[in-house]
Point group: C2
Chain length 211, copies 2
DNA sequence: TATGGAAACAATCGAACGTTCTTTTTTCGT
DNA sequence: ACGAAAAAAGAACGTTCGATTGTTTCCATA
Protein backbone atom coordinates (compact mmCIF):
# COMPACT_ATOMS: atom_id res chain seq x y z
CA UNK A 1 0.00 0.00 0.00
CA UNK A 2 1.05 3.60 -0.41
CA UNK A 3 -1.16 6.62 -0.24
CA UNK A 4 -3.83 5.82 2.33
CA UNK A 5 -7.54 6.39 1.85
CA UNK A 6 -8.75 9.74 3.02
CA UNK A 7 -5.23 11.09 3.43
CA UNK A 8 -4.95 14.83 3.31
CA UNK A 9 -1.79 16.90 3.34
CA UNK A 10 -3.01 19.83 5.39
CA UNK A 11 -4.56 17.61 8.01
CA UNK A 12 -1.45 15.46 8.27
CA UNK A 13 0.75 18.53 8.61
CA UNK A 14 -1.30 19.70 11.56
CA UNK A 15 -1.32 16.26 13.13
CA UNK A 16 2.45 16.09 12.88
CA UNK A 17 2.80 19.44 14.53
CA UNK A 18 0.48 18.50 17.38
CA UNK A 19 2.12 15.14 17.91
CA UNK A 20 5.52 16.82 17.82
CA UNK A 21 4.53 19.21 20.58
CA UNK A 22 3.11 16.39 22.64
CA UNK A 23 6.13 14.12 22.32
CA UNK A 24 8.74 16.82 22.77
CA UNK A 25 6.88 17.99 25.85
CA UNK A 26 6.76 14.50 27.26
CA UNK A 27 10.17 13.12 26.34
CA UNK A 28 12.26 16.06 25.21
CA UNK A 29 13.46 16.90 21.75
CA UNK A 30 16.55 14.73 21.75
CA UNK A 31 14.71 11.80 23.24
CA UNK A 32 11.88 11.93 20.72
CA UNK A 33 12.69 9.80 17.70
CA UNK A 34 11.14 10.45 14.33
CA UNK A 35 9.92 6.86 14.27
CA UNK A 36 8.06 7.57 17.49
CA UNK A 37 6.60 10.72 16.01
CA UNK A 38 5.60 8.93 12.82
CA UNK A 39 3.91 6.17 14.78
CA UNK A 40 1.96 8.73 16.79
CA UNK A 41 0.62 10.23 13.58
CA UNK A 42 0.19 6.89 11.85
CA UNK A 43 2.92 7.19 9.24
CA UNK A 44 6.26 5.71 8.35
CA UNK A 45 9.20 7.77 9.51
CA UNK A 46 10.38 8.53 5.99
CA UNK A 47 7.05 10.06 5.09
CA UNK A 48 7.56 12.83 7.61
CA UNK A 49 10.03 14.47 5.28
CA UNK A 50 7.20 15.59 3.04
CA UNK A 51 6.34 17.97 5.88
CA UNK A 52 9.66 19.27 7.17
CA UNK A 53 13.26 19.45 6.02
CA UNK A 54 14.68 17.80 9.11
CA UNK A 55 14.11 17.23 12.78
CA UNK A 56 15.72 20.50 13.76
CA UNK A 57 13.44 22.61 11.61
CA UNK A 58 10.39 20.95 13.15
CA UNK A 59 11.54 22.12 16.57
CA UNK A 60 12.35 25.58 15.34
CA UNK A 61 9.00 25.99 13.62
CA UNK A 62 7.18 25.00 16.80
CA UNK A 63 9.17 27.38 18.96
CA UNK A 64 9.11 30.33 16.57
CA UNK A 65 5.38 30.09 15.92
CA UNK A 66 4.77 29.93 19.64
CA UNK A 67 6.88 32.97 20.37
CA UNK A 68 5.14 35.00 17.70
CA UNK A 69 1.76 33.99 19.03
CA UNK A 70 2.80 34.85 22.58
CA UNK A 71 4.01 38.29 21.67
CA UNK A 72 1.08 39.14 19.49
CA UNK A 73 -1.41 38.22 22.17
CA UNK A 74 0.59 40.04 24.86
CA UNK A 75 0.44 43.25 22.88
CA UNK A 76 -3.29 42.80 22.51
CA UNK A 77 -3.65 42.33 26.26
CA UNK A 78 -1.84 45.57 27.02
CA UNK A 79 -3.49 47.53 24.26
CA UNK A 80 -5.20 50.68 25.47
CA UNK A 81 -3.83 50.54 29.01
CA UNK A 82 -1.55 53.35 30.11
CA UNK A 83 -1.27 53.37 33.91
CA UNK A 84 1.70 51.19 34.98
CA UNK A 85 -0.32 49.31 37.59
CA UNK A 86 -3.04 48.52 35.06
CA UNK A 87 -0.48 47.36 32.56
CA UNK A 88 1.31 45.26 35.17
CA UNK A 89 -1.89 43.53 36.23
CA UNK A 90 -2.82 42.92 32.62
CA UNK A 91 0.62 41.51 31.86
CA UNK A 92 0.53 39.20 34.86
CA UNK A 93 -2.97 37.99 34.11
CA UNK A 94 -2.26 37.43 30.45
CA UNK A 95 1.02 35.66 31.04
CA UNK A 96 -0.48 33.33 33.61
CA UNK A 97 -3.53 32.42 31.58
CA UNK A 98 -1.48 31.88 28.47
CA UNK A 99 0.98 29.68 30.30
CA UNK A 100 -1.77 27.68 31.94
CA UNK A 101 -3.50 26.93 28.65
CA UNK A 102 -0.40 26.33 26.53
CA UNK A 103 1.75 24.43 29.00
CA UNK A 104 3.38 22.20 26.41
CA UNK A 105 4.34 24.94 23.96
CA UNK A 106 5.70 27.11 26.74
CA UNK A 107 7.70 24.31 28.25
CA UNK A 108 9.24 23.48 24.90
CA UNK A 109 10.05 27.10 24.11
CA UNK A 110 11.80 27.50 27.44
CA UNK A 111 13.54 24.17 27.77
CA UNK A 112 14.57 23.17 24.29
CA UNK A 113 16.42 26.35 23.43
CA UNK A 114 19.58 24.43 24.04
CA UNK A 115 18.60 21.98 21.33
CA UNK A 116 18.33 24.70 18.70
CA UNK A 117 21.19 25.30 16.32
CA UNK A 118 23.09 28.54 16.87
CA UNK A 119 21.25 30.64 14.31
CA UNK A 120 17.84 29.44 15.37
CA UNK A 121 18.66 29.87 19.01
CA UNK A 122 19.78 33.44 18.45
CA UNK A 123 16.47 34.22 16.77
CA UNK A 124 14.46 32.77 19.62
CA UNK A 125 16.54 34.46 22.29
CA UNK A 126 15.99 37.77 20.56
CA UNK A 127 12.25 37.21 20.57
CA UNK A 128 12.29 36.31 24.22
CA UNK A 129 14.24 39.43 25.00
CA UNK A 130 11.59 41.48 23.27
CA UNK A 131 8.89 39.81 25.32
CA UNK A 132 10.77 40.40 28.57
CA UNK A 133 11.30 43.99 27.47
CA UNK A 134 7.59 44.61 27.67
CA UNK A 135 7.55 43.93 31.40
CA UNK A 136 10.82 45.75 31.92
CA UNK A 137 9.31 48.81 30.30
CA UNK A 138 6.24 48.62 32.53
CA UNK A 139 8.38 48.45 35.65
CA UNK A 140 10.57 51.35 34.57
CA UNK A 141 7.58 53.49 33.79
CA UNK A 142 5.97 52.64 37.11
CA UNK A 143 9.18 53.39 38.98
CA UNK A 144 9.55 56.71 37.18
CA UNK A 145 6.02 57.69 38.15
CA UNK A 146 6.53 56.59 41.73
CA UNK A 147 3.89 53.88 41.49
CA UNK A 148 6.42 51.08 41.98
CA UNK A 149 9.46 50.64 44.13
CA UNK A 150 11.87 48.47 42.20
CA UNK A 151 15.54 48.49 42.99
CA UNK A 152 16.44 47.08 39.59
CA UNK A 153 13.83 46.68 36.84
CA UNK A 154 15.97 44.20 34.90
CA UNK A 155 16.27 41.83 37.84
CA UNK A 156 12.65 42.28 38.85
CA UNK A 157 11.64 41.40 35.32
CA UNK A 158 13.57 38.16 35.40
CA UNK A 159 12.26 37.36 38.85
CA UNK A 160 8.63 38.02 38.02
CA UNK A 161 8.70 36.17 34.73
CA UNK A 162 10.36 33.17 36.33
CA UNK A 163 7.73 33.14 39.01
CA UNK A 164 4.83 33.37 36.58
CA UNK A 165 6.22 30.94 34.03
CA UNK A 166 6.81 28.38 36.74
CA UNK A 167 3.09 27.77 36.89
CA UNK A 168 3.25 25.59 33.81
CA UNK A 169 5.34 23.11 35.80
CA UNK A 170 2.52 22.14 38.12
CA UNK A 171 -0.80 23.62 36.97
CA UNK A 172 -3.49 21.04 36.23
CA UNK A 173 -6.84 21.80 34.66
CA UNK A 174 -8.54 19.65 37.26
CA UNK A 175 -6.60 21.12 40.16
CA UNK A 176 -7.87 22.57 43.40
CA UNK A 177 -7.83 26.19 42.23
CA UNK A 178 -9.33 27.86 39.19
CA UNK A 179 -7.39 29.99 36.77
CA UNK A 180 -9.03 33.06 38.26
CA UNK A 181 -7.99 32.06 41.77
CA UNK A 182 -4.43 31.57 40.67
CA UNK A 183 -4.31 34.84 38.78
CA UNK A 184 -5.53 36.64 41.88
CA UNK A 185 -2.94 35.01 44.13
CA UNK A 186 -0.06 35.66 41.79
CA UNK A 187 -1.20 39.21 41.13
CA UNK A 188 -1.10 39.90 44.86
CA UNK A 189 2.39 38.48 45.08
CA UNK A 190 3.65 40.58 42.20
CA UNK A 191 1.98 43.86 43.05
CA UNK A 192 3.02 43.46 46.68
CA UNK A 193 6.59 42.80 45.61
CA UNK A 194 6.88 45.95 43.53
CA UNK A 195 4.69 48.17 45.67
CA UNK A 196 6.04 51.56 46.68
CA UNK A 197 6.83 51.25 50.38
CA UNK A 198 8.05 54.76 51.08
CA UNK A 199 11.72 53.98 51.50
CA UNK A 200 13.81 53.57 48.35
CA UNK A 201 14.55 49.94 47.52
CA UNK A 202 18.15 50.74 46.66
CA UNK A 203 18.73 51.78 50.24
CA UNK A 204 17.21 48.56 51.49
CA UNK A 205 19.52 46.69 49.16
CA UNK A 206 22.67 48.30 50.48
CA UNK A 207 21.76 47.90 54.13
CA UNK A 208 21.32 44.18 53.79
CA UNK A 209 24.84 43.29 52.62
CA UNK A 210 25.80 39.85 53.92
CA UNK A 211 23.53 37.26 55.51
CA UNK B 1 48.72 0.56 26.29
CA UNK B 2 46.30 -0.16 29.08
CA UNK B 3 46.44 1.21 32.57
CA UNK B 4 47.96 4.68 32.23
CA UNK B 5 50.75 6.03 34.39
CA UNK B 6 49.59 7.81 37.48
CA UNK B 7 46.04 6.64 37.05
CA UNK B 8 43.99 6.65 40.22
CA UNK B 9 40.51 5.33 40.70
CA UNK B 10 39.26 7.89 43.19
CA UNK B 11 40.55 10.78 41.14
CA UNK B 12 39.04 9.41 37.93
CA UNK B 13 35.71 8.86 39.62
CA UNK B 14 35.59 12.49 40.65
CA UNK B 15 36.69 13.67 37.22
CA UNK B 16 33.92 11.64 35.62
CA UNK B 17 31.36 13.13 37.96
CA UNK B 18 32.52 16.67 37.27
CA UNK B 19 32.69 16.16 33.54
CA UNK B 20 29.25 14.57 33.64
CA UNK B 21 27.76 17.59 35.35
CA UNK B 22 29.45 19.91 32.90
CA UNK B 23 28.33 18.05 29.79
CA UNK B 24 24.78 17.35 30.95
CA UNK B 25 24.45 21.02 31.87
CA UNK B 26 25.72 22.10 28.49
CA UNK B 27 24.09 19.59 26.16
CA UNK B 28 21.46 17.78 28.16
CA UNK B 29 21.49 14.21 29.40
CA UNK B 30 20.14 12.61 26.25
CA UNK B 31 22.43 14.62 24.03
CA UNK B 32 25.55 13.77 26.00
CA UNK B 33 27.17 10.61 24.69
CA UNK B 34 29.39 8.43 26.80
CA UNK B 35 32.10 8.76 24.20
CA UNK B 36 31.94 12.51 24.67
CA UNK B 37 32.12 12.08 28.42
CA UNK B 38 35.02 9.66 28.15
CA UNK B 39 36.94 12.02 25.90
CA UNK B 40 36.41 14.87 28.36
CA UNK B 41 37.98 12.78 31.10
CA UNK B 42 40.62 11.25 28.86
CA UNK B 43 39.36 7.70 28.73
CA UNK B 44 37.84 5.23 26.34
CA UNK B 45 34.09 4.97 26.62
CA UNK B 46 34.17 1.38 27.80
CA UNK B 47 36.34 2.31 30.75
CA UNK B 48 33.57 4.42 32.21
CA UNK B 49 31.74 1.29 33.22
CA UNK B 50 34.28 0.73 35.96
CA UNK B 51 32.68 3.79 37.62
CA UNK B 52 28.96 3.42 37.04
CA UNK B 53 26.55 0.69 36.07
CA UNK B 54 25.04 2.60 33.18
CA UNK B 55 24.35 6.07 31.89
CA UNK B 56 21.10 6.35 33.82
CA UNK B 57 22.69 5.67 37.19
CA UNK B 58 25.26 8.37 36.55
CA UNK B 59 22.46 10.89 36.16
CA UNK B 60 20.62 9.61 39.18
CA UNK B 61 23.71 9.74 41.37
CA UNK B 62 24.35 13.33 40.37
CA UNK B 63 20.79 14.41 41.05
CA UNK B 64 20.35 12.51 44.29
CA UNK B 65 23.62 13.71 45.77
CA UNK B 66 22.72 17.26 44.84
CA UNK B 67 19.30 17.04 46.44
CA UNK B 68 20.73 15.65 49.64
CA UNK B 69 23.32 18.38 49.76
CA UNK B 70 20.69 21.03 49.12
CA UNK B 71 18.42 19.85 51.87
CA UNK B 72 21.18 19.38 54.40
CA UNK B 73 22.48 22.89 53.87
CA UNK B 74 18.98 24.37 53.92
CA UNK B 75 18.32 22.89 57.32
CA UNK B 76 21.59 24.35 58.55
CA UNK B 77 20.60 27.77 57.23
CA UNK B 78 17.32 27.72 59.14
CA UNK B 79 18.78 26.23 62.27
CA UNK B 80 18.08 28.27 65.38
CA UNK B 81 15.67 30.69 63.73
CA UNK B 82 12.10 30.69 64.97
CA UNK B 83 10.35 33.89 63.81
CA UNK B 84 8.67 33.27 60.43
CA UNK B 85 10.12 36.43 58.88
CA UNK B 86 13.61 35.48 59.98
CA UNK B 87 13.17 32.00 58.63
CA UNK B 88 11.77 33.31 55.36
CA UNK B 89 14.67 35.68 54.84
CA UNK B 90 17.14 32.94 55.66
CA UNK B 91 15.44 30.56 53.26
CA UNK B 92 15.43 33.10 50.45
CA UNK B 93 19.04 34.08 51.00
CA UNK B 94 20.21 30.50 51.24
CA UNK B 95 18.27 29.34 48.22
CA UNK B 96 19.56 32.19 46.07
CA UNK B 97 23.18 31.86 47.07
CA UNK B 98 23.10 28.12 46.64
CA UNK B 99 21.53 28.40 43.22
CA UNK B 100 23.98 31.06 42.13
CA UNK B 101 26.98 28.97 43.08
CA UNK B 102 25.73 25.59 41.90
CA UNK B 103 24.01 26.58 38.68
CA UNK B 104 24.87 23.42 36.79
CA UNK B 105 23.75 20.98 39.47
CA UNK B 106 20.54 22.88 40.05
CA UNK B 107 19.75 23.07 36.39
CA UNK B 108 20.30 19.35 35.97
CA UNK B 109 18.21 18.46 39.00
CA UNK B 110 15.34 20.56 37.72
CA UNK B 111 15.47 19.84 34.02
CA UNK B 112 16.56 16.26 33.72
CA UNK B 113 13.92 14.78 35.97
CA UNK B 114 12.12 13.71 32.84
CA UNK B 115 15.15 11.65 31.84
CA UNK B 116 15.09 9.64 35.05
CA UNK B 117 13.49 6.22 35.05
CA UNK B 118 10.23 5.96 36.95
CA UNK B 119 11.65 4.71 40.23
CA UNK B 120 14.46 7.21 40.29
CA UNK B 121 12.18 10.03 39.34
CA UNK B 122 9.80 9.18 42.15
CA UNK B 123 12.66 9.34 44.63
CA UNK B 124 13.80 12.73 43.39
CA UNK B 125 10.29 14.15 43.30
CA UNK B 126 9.80 13.06 46.89
CA UNK B 127 12.98 14.84 47.91
CA UNK B 128 11.94 17.97 46.12
CA UNK B 129 8.60 17.86 47.85
CA UNK B 130 10.36 17.75 51.17
CA UNK B 131 12.45 20.75 50.24
CA UNK B 132 9.40 22.71 49.12
CA UNK B 133 7.69 21.68 52.33
CA UNK B 134 10.21 23.68 54.32
CA UNK B 135 9.06 26.92 52.72
CA UNK B 136 5.45 25.89 52.84
CA UNK B 137 5.77 25.38 56.57
CA UNK B 138 7.36 28.79 57.04
CA UNK B 139 4.54 30.49 55.17
CA UNK B 140 1.86 28.64 57.11
CA UNK B 141 3.46 29.50 60.40
CA UNK B 142 3.77 33.14 59.39
CA UNK B 143 0.18 33.25 58.25
CA UNK B 144 -1.00 31.69 61.50
CA UNK B 145 0.88 34.27 63.51
CA UNK B 146 -0.42 37.12 61.37
CA UNK B 147 3.04 38.04 60.13
CA UNK B 148 2.25 37.11 56.52
CA UNK B 149 -0.75 37.51 54.32
CA UNK B 150 -0.80 34.53 51.98
CA UNK B 151 -4.00 33.45 50.30
CA UNK B 152 -2.64 29.96 49.63
CA UNK B 153 0.68 28.80 51.11
CA UNK B 154 0.98 25.96 48.62
CA UNK B 155 0.72 28.24 45.61
CA UNK B 156 2.92 30.89 47.18
CA UNK B 157 5.53 28.25 47.80
CA UNK B 158 5.58 27.23 44.17
CA UNK B 159 5.61 30.83 43.04
CA UNK B 160 8.45 31.89 45.31
CA UNK B 161 10.60 28.88 44.57
CA UNK B 162 10.12 29.32 40.84
CA UNK B 163 11.11 32.93 41.13
CA UNK B 164 14.22 32.22 43.17
CA UNK B 165 15.34 29.19 41.20
CA UNK B 166 15.04 31.13 37.97
CA UNK B 167 18.16 33.03 38.90
CA UNK B 168 20.33 30.15 37.77
CA UNK B 169 19.13 30.74 34.21
CA UNK B 170 20.86 34.08 33.86
CA UNK B 171 23.17 34.77 36.82
CA UNK B 172 26.80 35.29 35.85
CA UNK B 173 29.67 35.58 38.29
CA UNK B 174 31.01 38.57 36.39
CA UNK B 175 27.61 40.23 36.10
CA UNK B 176 26.58 43.75 36.96
CA UNK B 177 25.26 42.90 40.42
CA UNK B 178 26.85 41.08 43.33
CA UNK B 179 25.29 38.13 45.08
CA UNK B 180 24.47 40.40 48.00
CA UNK B 181 22.74 42.89 45.75
CA UNK B 182 20.64 40.18 44.18
CA UNK B 183 19.73 38.64 47.51
CA UNK B 184 18.57 42.04 48.71
CA UNK B 185 16.44 42.66 45.63
CA UNK B 186 14.83 39.25 45.69
CA UNK B 187 14.25 39.42 49.41
CA UNK B 188 12.36 42.66 48.96
CA UNK B 189 10.22 41.10 46.28
CA UNK B 190 9.39 38.08 48.38
CA UNK B 191 8.77 39.82 51.69
CA UNK B 192 6.69 42.45 49.92
CA UNK B 193 4.66 39.78 48.22
CA UNK B 194 3.76 37.97 51.42
CA UNK B 195 3.52 41.03 53.63
CA UNK B 196 0.43 41.45 55.76
CA UNK B 197 -1.54 44.26 54.15
CA UNK B 198 -4.47 44.46 56.51
CA UNK B 199 -7.10 43.05 54.21
CA UNK B 200 -7.27 39.29 53.90
CA UNK B 201 -5.76 37.98 50.70
CA UNK B 202 -8.60 35.51 50.20
CA UNK B 203 -10.98 38.44 49.86
CA UNK B 204 -8.73 40.08 47.31
CA UNK B 205 -8.69 36.81 45.41
CA UNK B 206 -12.45 36.56 45.15
CA UNK B 207 -13.01 40.18 44.17
CA UNK B 208 -10.72 39.90 41.20
CA UNK B 209 -12.51 37.13 39.34
CA UNK B 210 -12.01 37.54 35.58
CA UNK B 211 -9.71 39.98 33.80
C1' DT C 1 61.31 -8.80 43.08
C1' DA C 2 57.38 -11.67 42.13
C1' DT C 3 52.15 -11.40 42.32
C1' DG C 4 47.32 -10.14 42.52
C1' DG C 5 44.23 -6.66 41.92
C1' DA C 6 43.15 -2.20 39.95
C1' DA C 7 42.80 0.69 35.80
C1' DA C 8 42.45 1.43 31.22
C1' DC C 9 42.61 0.05 26.26
C1' DA C 10 40.80 -1.90 22.08
C1' DA C 11 37.60 -4.17 19.55
C1' DT C 12 33.08 -5.24 18.92
C1' DC C 13 27.99 -6.02 19.40
C1' DG C 14 23.15 -5.20 18.13
C1' DA C 15 19.95 -1.68 18.15
C1' DA C 16 18.35 2.67 17.05
C1' DC C 17 19.00 6.91 14.94
C1' DG C 18 18.08 10.66 11.07
C1' DT C 19 17.73 10.69 6.38
C1' DT C 20 17.23 9.47 1.36
C1' DC C 21 15.23 7.20 -2.42
C1' DT C 22 12.15 4.51 -5.09
C1' DT C 23 7.71 2.64 -5.61
C1' DT C 24 2.83 2.32 -5.03
C1' DT C 25 -1.65 3.95 -4.28
C1' DT C 26 -5.12 7.48 -3.96
C1' DT C 27 -7.10 11.82 -5.16
C1' DC C 28 -8.65 15.29 -8.17
C1' DG C 29 -9.00 18.48 -12.08
C1' DT C 30 -10.12 18.24 -16.80
C1' DA D 1 -12.38 8.36 -17.98
C1' DC D 2 -7.70 9.67 -17.84
C1' DG D 3 -3.41 11.49 -16.44
C1' DA D 4 -0.94 14.33 -13.37
C1' DA D 5 -0.06 15.39 -8.77
C1' DA D 6 -0.28 14.35 -4.03
C1' DA D 7 0.43 11.23 -0.14
C1' DA D 8 2.36 7.64 1.94
C1' DA D 9 4.76 3.01 2.07
C1' DG D 10 8.78 0.62 2.45
C1' DA D 11 13.46 -0.45 1.99
C1' DA D 12 17.93 0.90 2.56
C1' DC D 13 21.96 3.97 3.88
C1' DG D 14 25.71 5.25 6.94
C1' DT D 15 26.38 6.68 11.58
C1' DT D 16 26.24 6.69 16.31
C1' DC D 17 24.69 4.99 20.47
C1' DG D 18 25.08 2.34 25.07
C1' DA D 19 27.02 -1.60 26.55
C1' DT D 20 30.12 -5.99 26.80
C1' DT D 21 34.23 -8.45 26.66
C1' DG D 22 39.02 -9.86 26.62
C1' DT D 23 43.53 -8.10 27.08
C1' DT D 24 47.28 -5.24 28.60
C1' DT D 25 49.64 -2.33 31.74
C1' DC D 26 50.50 -0.20 36.15
C1' DC D 27 51.03 -0.28 41.03
C1' DA D 28 51.09 -1.65 45.86
C1' DT D 29 52.52 -5.03 48.86
C1' DA D 30 54.51 -8.89 50.68
Amino acid sequence: MARTVGSNGARTAQAIRQAGVKLIYKHGYEAMSLRQLAAEVGLQSGSLYKYFDNKQSLLFDIVRDHMEDLMGKAEEALDGLTAPMDRLRAYVGFHLRYHMTRKAHVFIANMEIRSLEDGHRAEVVAMRRRYEGMLDEILRQGAAEGAFNVADPRVSTYAIISMLTGICMWYRTDGRLSQDDLVAIYTDLVTGGVAATGLPAAAAATTLKRA
